[in-house]
Subunit: 228 residues, 2 copies
Amino acid sequence: MTNKINMHNLTKSEEDYLKALFQLLIEDESIKVGNNQLAEYLAVSPASANNMVKKLKAKSYVISEKYGKLELTDEGKAVAVRLIRKHRLWETFLCKYLNFTWDEVHEVAEQLEHIKSSKLIDELDRFMDFPERDPHGEVIPNAKGEYSIQPKITLSSLPQGSICKLMAVNDGSVTFLKYVSEIGLALSSEIEIIEIREFDKSIRIRFNAIEETVSKKFADNVFVKLIE
Amino acid sequence: MTNKINMHNLTKSEEDYLKALFQLLIEDESIKVGNNQLAEYLAVSPASANNMVKKLKAKSYVISEKYGKLELTDEGKAVAVRLIRKHRLWETFLCKYLNFTWDEVHEVAEQLEHIKSSKLIDELDRFMDFPERDPHGEVIPNAKGEYSIQPKITLSSLPQGSICKLMAVNDGSVTFLKYVSEIGLALSSEIEIIEIREFDKSIRIRFNAIEETVSKKFADNVFVKLIE
DNA sequence: CTAAAAAGTTAGCTTTGACTAACAAAATAA
DNA sequence: TTATTTTGTTAGTCAAAGCTAACTTTTTAG
């Protein structure tokens, strides 16, 4: 019998906070995530975040000391991973079956991830034949909450002459996603780094016989696997 | 340009009330629907219903006079029909693609019907090739909110000797739906009324070479089309 | 090492949508 | 027609989740 002290009757807000905290924590393991970061990430006031963190602490999803850094309990992490699983499965469904584009899926998936039914999500998973990655290239956790973590290599971190494959993109911004598809990049595109301009770190790349120059900021949001 | 005074930014609760009122109103056109009925239907206190009705009146979705009966404006009806469309499309999806049974769909569809995205629902409709009826046999309104109203003939209203076809069932209760499928009845089943027992109006029926006796209450919840 | 800035906390208010209790109007029955 | 029951309304509370303003602690910079 698994430890079911927390009967996951969480509100939408509680879920949002747990997921946000999880994302902030994995973004950079070593750095302190505090109340203010969490507030900023969710676009709420520090007071609101403080309030909610208190509640989640009381419910044993979050660990923290006064004025200290925030952490998630195993149960907190499990909730977040379940949400991420749902989010990514829905995104996959929207793209593959309902003609949604890269940049349209996020907003709707934000809503769908809060639907409470494990049967629903597990059947959706089965219906799509257990996809491993979502349309942005992110790994989808399985029904047990297991998932492989890919070390994130950004396009901007590679030296001139590298050849790499587009594995994922940061799906934080609609304008970015639109840009990516407009220039013709897609998941699995092979990218060669022709030149890195010293002045502003902008990068000349070639893919599918197209040459383009992209900014450092752009390259920071593109995750790749090194081929050679 | 269609009249877009009401920017449909309704809360889940507001939507629930509008849908509930719509359902109560079409159930029996002639009878007065008041605040208390609405409250009872939604399992909330009369005070809560009163409160919400006031708000929906202010937003021009509902018409009523103090101590008078409740009505929906065209916009109110449109919201309700959109919800019903979403609900029935999701139910259809759950049954046809995600292995949900008759009695499992309702609860999840209650949640899914509140997802805000017209693209989502219209694409889902297209994906399923524009189904006309949901798994309970109810007509699904189209994207414009049009739908045909079938006069509801209950199994209990037919005389002995009638032969009819099961068109829909009242999906209000899980136990009822389970019962229906357990005895082997399904949509489109042909049913012959062998005998109506005077004492308690229970009905002996035959379908798919099965004979069963069902109660008046049961027959009240089964909607049919007369064949002969 | 102190002073200013940043981060975290608290108190108190707002809105939404529930609730109960008390009261008013309508409908029904005697 | 009057009395009772049903129905509808109002007032006042509560919890969730947000906010601002004020305050405290920690961090950082001079």
